[in-house]
């Protein structure tokens, strides 16, 4: 167990590698109840969120969800999150645990008449069930990614969200805090393996999902981070003007994905000769090689370029690759 954002979290149960493989090949469950939940409700909830979130909220219907960013005036990323449209005028934001309070304050400070912002994190538990066989094992019908519906598992009412952080088919199940243990047991009873923070990190890194605090943050803008696709630059939102400028001029550096071509495992904070530093690095259980992400000068940002990582004083080469690093053969 390790402390994480005020929670005691398991790094691993059986081991990072078997847990990682279980999610890639079958199904695994992560307790992600540490994540924050913020509700925004009211006749002007849409207006408020449309002005603080980067993606176009008008595209999200009731039953839908969207990956989006909370941005600052510099185009930096206050947080990345998923917004769910619960009812016409009611939205649920699932945010990173470490940013829960700052996100809440950020949105509340910008609150407008006709919108109500509430931190409801303590009321809910969230279990991410991920892997190619996750839906089958849970007895759930497949649904489109980024949708949600109410469902039921062994008599427990759950919000079933077709979202996740692993690159696999899967769901995130949200229920009331009182049903936490019952839901966990119901999931395990279906032969789904428990998985910890360690596997969660290697899984998301293989598919290049950024981790806030490592790869993205208030001082890294969405365009340089490769998240331009989450920014509706034709609408007005916090930092939109700066992001339009960066896009026009072209970013000076870019968040790239890379695979080691020499021995060694890149780790967060290791310098990259061609610009910045490694923001996330680990061993890829699927590729059996060191992989990572980091910022480099834009000139070195194209797939196929060679970069050099300083692995505790030893220069080791890596190749910039197209994201995601790992993709299932279809």
């Amino acid at each position: 167990m390790v402390p994480f954002a005020g929670w005691e979290m398991p790094v691993q149960y059986e081991g990072v590698i078997p847990e990682h493989r279980a999610v890639r090949e079958d199904a695994g469950v992560f307790d992600v109840s540490h994540m924050g939940e913020i509700e925004v409700e009211g006749p002007r909830a849409f207006d408020l969120l449309q002005s603080v979130l980067s993606n176009d909220l008008a595209k999200v219907e009731v039953g839908g969800a969207q990956y989006t960013l909370l941005t600052n005036e510099r185009g930096g990323i206050v947080d990345d999150l998923i917004v769910y449209r619960v009812e016409g005028g009611r939205y649920l934001l699932i945010v990173n645990a470490s940013n829960r309070e700052s996100d809440f304050e950020w949105i509340r400070e910008r609150e407008i008449r006709g919108s109500d912002v509430r931190d409801v994190s303590d009321q809910y538990v969230l279990l991410a069930v991920q892997g190619p066989r996750s839906l089958e094992r849970l007895g759930l019908d497949d649904a489109q990614a980024f949708t949600w519906a109410m469902g039921e598992l062994d008599g427990i009412e759950v919000m079933v969200n077709r979202t996740g952080y692993t690159g696999e088919r899967g769901v995130e199940l949200m229920t009331m805090e009182d049903d936490a243990v019952a839901l966990w047991d119901a999931v395990l009873a279906r032969g789904i393996k428990p998985a910890g923070l360690g596997a969660r990190d290697t899984l998301r890194l293989e598919v290049c999902y950024p981790l806030h605090g490592n790869d993205i943050g208030p001082d890294t803008d969405a365009i340089s981070a490769g998240l331009g696709w989450t920014c509706a630059l034709d609408k007005d939102f916090t930092g939109a003007e700066e992001l339009r400028r960066i896009k026009r001029a072209g970013p000076e550096r870019r968040l790239v994905a890379f695979v080691m071509t020499e021995a060694g495992i890149p780790r967060q904070g290791m310098p990259i000769a061609e610009g910045g530093e490694v923001t996330s690095g680990s061993h890829s259980p699927m590729l059996d090689k060191g992989i990572g992400m980091g910022y480099v000068d834009a000139a070195h940002g194209e797939p196929g370029k060679t970069i050099t990582i300083d692995v505790r004083g030893r220069p080791r080469t890596a190749e910039v690759v197209k994201k995601p690093i790992y993709e299932k053969e279809s």
Binding site: G15, V16, I17, T202, I265, R312
Partner: protein, 131 residues
């Protein structure tokens, strides 16, 4: 498949969880079952160069699991005469067989009297029980 816990009697042990098998004026070095269990499945071995000098209590290389890097602390001083290429190619060999196929380096001893300062299996086991 991970090995079962054991601490062979013919080895000498260092408090940093490294073992030495002394053979004449040479010694084979590795990490103990306790060390590999604490690290988890190894995914990288950064060996010393052939001929490199190693000194007792100092790092001669690194092993890494998915989550952590660990220095290899030499239980004895000497010069590297062989590196186990099998572990370079398949680091999980250490988890499977920490005292056999999972050896890390062979050294020519520099200071053979250092051997007397190491723990025997019984003392090391008592030491591990306190960790």
């Amino acid at each position: 498949v991970a090995a079962a816990e054991s601490y062979p009697d013919d080895l000498k042990y260092h408090s940093e969880h490294d073992w030495a098998r002394v053979e004449g004026d040479e010694a084979v070095l590795g990490i103990t079952w306790f060390a590999q269990d604490a690290l988890g499945e190894l995914v990288h071995y950064e060996p010393p160069e052939d001929g490199a000098d190693v000194s007792q209590g100092s790092s001669y290389g690194e092993v890494e699991s998915v989550k952590a890097v660990s220095d290899l602390i030499s239980p004895l001083s000497g010069a590297v005469v062989a590196v186990n290429q099998k572990v370079v190619d398949a680091p999980e060999t250490v988890n499977e067989d920490p005292y056999g196929d999972g050896w890390l380096v062979r050294i020519r001893l520099g200071e053979s009297s250092e051997v007397d300062g190491l723990m025997d299996a019984q003392a090391y086991q008592a030491f591990v029980a306190d960790q």
